[in-house]
């Protein structure tokens, strides 16, 4: 791929192949040569991801741009943060447009809800593993509209019935194949034709798919292995300065003293900006900015949250969770059934605050001018960011230009606009563009965290061990109440109860409620796996407790409750079978199972662990069975299951943000530990193929893994883990 050919020679080769192509089908592949480093001596293959907006002669909708040169650009409405949507959404378009993936380039969609809103989230937001679900139909329709118009243009040219023509690989052919015209040659004529309503175009029968369902290569890989890729943090704007920031260590505090002279004495430092909640040192480069920030020796007035600690927050949760909450589900009479049950179980589960810790630290480049504001950033929520910047600056929304980028890790962190708003507040004091970069310490200590939840559960079993009552009260912060207030009604937050209210198991009496508890010292946010990542740990661990109390095998116990739910039963059976469930293990080794229905997909995992006598834990193997309905790219699904599982496992093993004196105690990778290559288990994926509606996949493995592991720990040691992260001190023999 990375051929060692001087740049001039590449140009010659391109010219040769262009001529060859013109003599052939007439189709011209117009890849834009963008993103190539000016420092590079050798040219690499052209980038498939373009940063600037491409205009198209033929642009039948928001997603397709085709020029007479033959360049096909697909405008991708959702953000690419590793989950593979630039490829999978391109596949939906390309399948119906009849182009190959190596014939297209992709472009970040501009902020525009009218063109690019996600139908599930009602906004141009990448989240809740909804991209494929939301765009499965609209993008195939958009591709089909494009193809129909191009075919119609060719049919007009040949004066034949369009129904006799067909398209393949960006070329329209007549019935006999004797005539053909490339999409580039047809672009101008196709642009003149009236648009058919998207809903009226006929879509392919899934059995005729040639691209969807295949392990197609990612369109964004090549630029990510040779340094050409540009994330938001790589934005470079003429005249740009770089700023390092310190944010008040306690939420609500402000800067008390700043030694501006000392900061300005550092070579390369240009300016100190104090906006109370944060101080920025603006310099020619980040090295100088960081040095200047240190020299500024800032002291803080901590404000009203100066004394808040984790113990206070947990105590508040313990108290508040004793009160009844907003009812999310109420089947039968759980209280009565609990009182009459042959056996009763009660438990309290807790999950900690978690930071997102994307590999690309928070950053944003802003150029604020009198009548416009340009923002260079990687965001999961461009229109939301645009609106919030408009409000902050007083400029009209269309004067706020969001230049979106590839994202170096999202996990929910980049649904938030806080980093952009902070950068704009700083930019108000800076003449010219400024790039604000958070240090890793700022990134971890001023994240908006996954909420700390405290859950109270009770269950009643009949004489045979079958569950006849299930009650589950969740207490914790509501992110939705802040993020989208209209969606938080009467104390009820549908995200908080995800995978807790809707259980895969058949039980006659179920009561689930939610108590909202907020701490003024902590901002909370969505985190990969959203509600499910908290609730599946709780539900699947407690289900394991029930199986144990009933003296039944955990897989068999669950299966008995899934007779009505064949897809759930199928993934559970497959995971158990592939993991060799029931086969003998050594002492202090154990297998644990979990299952879920979340993000529209069914999933089951079996984890195998070894717990040493000193309590140290090794997760040896994870087997995952998944039914996400019709799937787009099985290779991406496998990658997401491998990676999403490790994201959840990392949290289960190590993840915890704690507060002391209002401050976050963790600061970098030495005390907020990531899993590393020498400790990760092999993750095996088994994908079920069927014709069900597509489900989401990016977050499902994150939410399911922790109970599989803690249930395996119970099998190995008899110790039940009811709070995360796993405390290995409690696992000693």
């Amino acid at each position: 791929m990375n051929r060692l050919i001087p740049r001039e020679q590449i140009a010659d080769e391109a010219a040769v192949s262009r001529r060859a192509f013109l003599q052939g089908t007439g189709l011209l592949l117009g890849f834009a040569l963008t993103g190539a480093s000016t420092e590079s001596v050798f040219a690499a293959p052209a980038s498939r991801v373009v940063e600037n907006e491409v205009t198209g002669t033929f642009a039948p909708n928001g997603f397709i741009r085709i020029n007479p040169t033959g360049a096909v650009t697909l405008v991708i409405p959702m953000a690419e943060m590793g989950q593979g949507v630039y490829t999978s959404l391109s596949m939906l378009l390309a399948e119906e447009l009849e182009v190959r993936l190596d014939q297209i380039q992709v472009q970040h969609a501009p902020a525009n809800d009218a063109l690019y809103a996600n139908s599930i989230l009602q906004s141009q937001i990448t989240g809740l593993s909804s991209s494929i679900r939301a765009f499965w139909t609209p993008l195939r329709q958009a591709g089909a509209v494009g193809r129909n118009l191009l075919i119609a243009a060719a049919a007009n040219r040949w004066d034949v019935d369009p129904a006799t023509c067909h398209a393949k690989n960006g070329v329209v052919f007549n019935a006999s194949g004797s005539k053909h015209l490339s999409y580039g040659e047809l672009a101008e004529a196709a642009a003149e034709l009236p648009l058919p309503p998207a809903a009226d175009v006929k879509l392919k029968d899934p059995k005729d798919f040639t691209l969807i369902g295949t392990p197609a290569k990612r369109v964004d890989s090549s630029i990510k292995v040779d340094g050409r890729v540009r994330y938001g943090i790589d934005a470079r704007v003429p005249g740009m300065k770089v700023a390092a920031i310190a944010i008040s260590p306690v939420l609500g505090g402000k800067a008390k003293t700043v030694d501006e002279d000392a900061a300005l004495a550092v070579k390369g430092v240009r300016q100190v900006v104090n906006i109370d909640e944060a101080v920025a040192v603006v310099a020619d480069h980040m090295g100088a900015a960081k040095k200047g920030l240190e020299a500024a020796a800032i002291t803080w007035d901590d404000g009203p949250n100066a004394k808040v600690s984790n113990a206070d927050i947990v105590k508040q949760l313990e108290e508040e969770s004793k009160k009844a909450g907003a009812v999310a589900r109420n089947d039968g009479d759980a209280r009565k059934a609990l009182a009459e049950a042959a056996q009763r179980l009660d438990a309290i589960y807790q999950v900690p605050f978690l930071a997102h810790v994307t590999m690309e630290p928070m950053n944003c480049t802003v150029h604020l001018q009198k009548d416009r504001c340009d923002i260079w950033v990687g965001t999961q929520a461009p229109t939301r960011t645009q609106s919030m910047v408009a409000e902050l600056t007083g400029l009209p929304k269309d004067a706020i230009k969001i230049h979106n980028h590839l994202i170096g890790g999202g996990f929910g962190r980049r649904l938030e606009a806080d980093g952009t708003l902070l950068a704009v507040k700083i930019a108000k004091h800076v003449d010219g563009p400024v790039k604000v970069i958070w240090s890793r310490e700022e990134d971890i200590q001023h994240d908006m965290y996954r909420p700390y939840n405290l859950d109270r559960l009770s269950a009643g079993l009949d004489a045979s061990g079958k569950p006849v009552a299930w009650t589950h009260r969740i207490a914790g912060s509501s992110v939705m109440a802040r993020y989208a207030p209209p969606l938080f009604k009467d104390g009820y937050d549908f995200v908080v109860v995800e995978s807790a209210a809707e259980l895969p198991y058949a039980m006659p009496n179920i009561h689930v409620d939610y108590v909202r508890v907020e701490s003024p010292a902590v901002q909370t946010a969505f985190w990969r796996g959203v509600g499910a990542t908290r609730n599946v740990f709780v539900v699947e661990s407690f289900m394991d407790e029930l199986a144990h109390a009933a003296k039944q095998d955990p897989v068999a116990y669950r299966k008995a409750l899934l007779g009505h739910n064949p897809r759930a039963l199928a993934v559970l059976s497959l995971a158990a079978e592939k993991a060799g469930w029931g086969s003998p293990l050594l002492a202090r080794h154990g297998r644990g199972v979990s299952m879920q229905f979340a993000f529209g997909s069914y999933m089951s995992q079996v984890a195998e662990v070894e717990v040493a006598d000193d309590g140290s834990l090794k997760v040896k193997r994870i087997v995952c069975a998944v039914d996400c309905g019709m799937y787009v790219n099985p290779d991406t699904i496998e990658a997401q299951i491998q990676g999403g599982t490790l994201f959840g496992l990392t949290a289960a093993l190590y993840g915890s943000i704690t507060f002391k004196d209002g401050r976050v105690e963790q600061s970098n990778f030495h005390d907020y530990l990531p899993m590393r290559i020498d400790e990760v288990p092999v993750v095996e994926t088994h994908l079920i193929k069927n014709a069900e509606a597509p489900g989401g996949i990016g977050e499902a493995p994150t939410s399911i893994v922790s109970p599989a592991v803690t249930n395996a720990i119970f099998a190995a040691t008899g110790k039940r883990v009811r709070s995360l992260p796993i405390d290995t001190d409690l696992l000693k023999s």
Binding site: R218, D226, A288, K290, M359, E360, R440, T650, F669
Partner: protein
């Protein structure tokens, strides 16, 4: 203070304090953004470059410590046989997700293969455990290193 740095075979003049990390000289002064900032404390490996063929964390390498040593970055590692083989393997096995850590991963892997052309799993663990990937691409990174090494 002025320094002349030999980067990817080309000399570059920069005028910065001697204690400024090479990372920011590359990224902000010279505009070579292929090398990534991850932690600033040599804890994550995203900023890995080679100094005379040895992997170093550029976020903790002051510019005045470089001297005449040759700096190689991700932008030019494809010109070495190991780098080219690894980049191809990364694409063949579709390693990347968000991709942010992968510059550093490939630089660490290239240094490994230069010294140890046929690495064992333990060799890979030792050479690569300084590089963090939050997307969790480790399984494919291991496979791609073996693929590139032909083991």
């Amino acid at each position: 203070m002025a320094f002349t740095l030999k980067i990817n075979g080309t000399p570059h003049e920069v005028d910065v304090d001697g204690d400024i990390p090479v990372l920011w000289v590359l990224r902000d002064v010279l505009g070579m953004t292929g090398t990534k900032f991850g932690c600033g404390q040599a804890l994550c490996g995203a900023c890995t470059v080679h100094l005379d063929g040895q992997p170093v964390r550029s976020c903790q390498t002051p510019v005045d410590s470089v001297g005449d040593s040759a700096i190689t970055t991700i932008d030019a590692i494809g010109q070495t046989p190991e780098g080219a083989a690894l980049q191809k393997a990364w694409l063949d096995l579709e390693v990347v997700q968000c991709g942010y850590c992968q510059s550093g991963q490939i630089m660490s892997a290239a240094a490994l293969l230069k010294d140890t052309p046929k690495p064992t799993d333990d060799d890979i663990d030792a050479a690569m455990s300084g590089n963090v990937c939050r997307c969790g691409t480790y399984q494919r990174i291991r496979a791609a290193i073996k693929h590139a090494a032909g083991v």
